[in-house]
Symmetry: C2
Amino acid sequence: MKHTPIRQVLSSETSLPDICVMGWVRTRRTGRDVSFLEINDGSCLASLQVVVDAGLPFHGDVARITTGSGLAVTGDLIPSPASGQAFELKAREIHVFQKAPESYPLQKKRHSDEFLRSIAHIRPRTNKYGAMFRIRSELAFATHHYYREKGFHFLHAPILTGSDCEGAGELFSVVTEEKGQEFFGRPAHLSVSGQLSAEMFALALGRVYTFGPTFRAENSHTSRHAAEFWMVEPEMAFADLGDAMDLAEEYLKFLVVWLRENGREDLELFTRFVDKDLAGVLECIQKERFARVSYTEAVDMLLHSGKTFEFPVAWGKDLQSEHERFLAESLFRKPVILYDYPKEIKPFYMRLNDDGKTVAAMDLLVPRIGELMGGSQREEREDVLYERMTAQGLSAEKYGWYLESRRWGSVPHAGFGMGFERLLMLVTGVGNIRDVIPFPRTPGNIDF
Amino acid sequence: MKHTPIRQVLSSETSLPDICVMGWVRTRRTGRDVSFLEINDGSCLASLQVVVDAGLPFHGDVARITTGSGLAVTGDLIPSPASGQAFELKAREIHVFQKAPESYPLQKKRHSDEFLRSIAHIRPRTNKYGAMFRIRSELAFATHHYYREKGFHFLHAPILTGSDCEGAGELFSVVTEEKGQEFFGRPAHLSVSGQLSAEMFALALGRVYTFGPTFRAENSHTSRHAAEFWMVEPEMAFADLGDAMDLAEEYLKFLVVWLRENGREDLELFTRFVDKDLAGVLECIQKERFARVSYTEAVDMLLHSGKTFEFPVAWGKDLQSEHERFLAESLFRKPVILYDYPKEIKPFYMRLNDDGKTVAAMDLLVPRIGELMGGSQREEREDVLYERMTAQGLSAEKYGWYLESRRWGSVPHAGFGMGFERLLMLVTGVGNIRDVIPFPRTPGNIDF
């Protein structure tokens, strides 16, 4: 069905005779001499103005067209006398695919995010959610582009897994209808991270990254937790913690620059209507050199900040979101990378530092979000890894294959993970994770 | 840890003084005057030849280096006197990260695919599987690149779902440890397709595609079935069956051209060692206009072919793989798109044709594989959709949101799905799906 995307029409610098556009009616204004239709086809945020002269035989039908209706318009793109648009489409023919009934839920008024969540199958037709999901698409592409340019190979890490990367955590189990018989011969879970797989492939292909769904069966009802979310996990052989920090900083800067160049119009919606300070946050990420301080220094700074926190700060304790945000928002006023965390609060696979007390871990903290990325240099020494595994109660037998990677050509390697939804919240200013996921899954919610 | 990827080193057209390379030893040859090491770092198929003069203080250590060991070599890239390579690295310094023990499983000899499957965490270090997973990465990128250029937005369709797109099929159920209480308030499954979500987003953003993992709990022990596999599913608003066929053909041709341009070296391994006819198959896909015949014509052709099949052919029955392959391999000798299938053998969402007997479905059949893609124009008429849903025993209540999309601005739309693993089998000639997936999941297999 030959037609020109509105994005392409609107980027035209000249009149275009005899084009066909297909889309949905956003608004209609009917006058005595002329009617106006705003048509949107989702290819971009902006709608195209269609002008229908009252003299045309179908003008009467146009006067009854409803918001949400799908139609095809043939006509000429001509200079528009109205301000705010260079061109408009002068209709010669209109075909209505289907007239939307008056019950169409997206009538011209502001709708709450809560209401729109209840019609997640319809909300991408609004300006805000259309922009959101175009940005999501654009940043996913930017991710693939970035890593490919840097020589990384994309890895499809398995979703069904017999292991649990973090050594703990709330897992979904996967079963089949046939009771009493396990499909895989043993318990299967949904992956919480592709890291262990990525390590195996980095030790073969040098540099790899995963970008796939991960799952947590956490019964959290916060605006920051979802049961299903996407993670990006790069992993590099022949790399140490410093390389991981460099990559994390460069990657985030790249994403922001890319979005400002390739998603300008959609991004502007969020800078104007969602978060007035957004442009400043993005500018800061793009321009400022990220701070880098050790966990130990950061704890000192928090203790001497004079600020009272809900959760007390102490060396050896995990930092809470309030601490992380205070560091990024108030103390440094820019992204901060913390490194060298106490080994007790980090997973077994992180490399033990020479002090015997800390591991070569890093967390990238950003304003508003707190932790955006977390990673480490991995423990490449088989004996040390074995000790840390067993100390954390993991079965060396079950992870035999993982240990083997430290026996057969072990080399230093490092990587990190980034929650893709947190990135989207950061760059759009949207505060609820449910509003950056096409069909969010949280406790009690699996509609659509 | 500063070093130059071997891919970059090997593409140099000049000598390079003082470079550092890190990788793993593939082979070592020790002579009286000089030793040679072949080093591979996974950045490309080819290894780099390192030359170590016997006069160097560490030459004795080099003579004891084992296959699989990880090391760093510093030296000068100089013209090589040997044939088959333009340059070699003259070592000045060598650091061994870890010496692999003699038990390292990838000693220099041919290993069977069966054996390599049992060490899936190690097999990407072989030439064949390194090449396979670089090709997998490259074709994933080509997919994102292609759809973005065509104005499609990438959609992360949900993996956890309350519905079952095909209206049947073997589903994995997802549960949590807390017995007697459902995390989502009702039964949850792993998605078998992102299509229904993609339709909702195509009806908002115009053109979208999914690329994510899908799951079938089928107890099949064939070389073509896996419990977890990745699918690409484009969906277009304002499109009919012809548009879907055009897109399918163009997309497949694009992938083949891309791979021949961007994965030449890896692809050559498969043309040389796996499938002697592969180059011809790819050339045919790239150059030939795909055949397009209706299901009815195809059944006629099969009935009159004189060929005896294991499964009898009859109008109204599903075609088997043997029929599909015979069409593509023997009758047309090129890819074939079949369209307009009997409605009884296709899902409810496919658009009913005016004959009342067939639906606007299409399957793309290719040599060796049979069905590579399957799609349709979708039923956009709410009343017809409702009838077909209930006729196939689906709950109109459960799919109320899906029906709503046909009430609120319904427009013609179409799309298809492609099994990414089948694509990989097609372009590499590899016959077993387990050998194109990083960590394959099949009944009884969930190691690693």
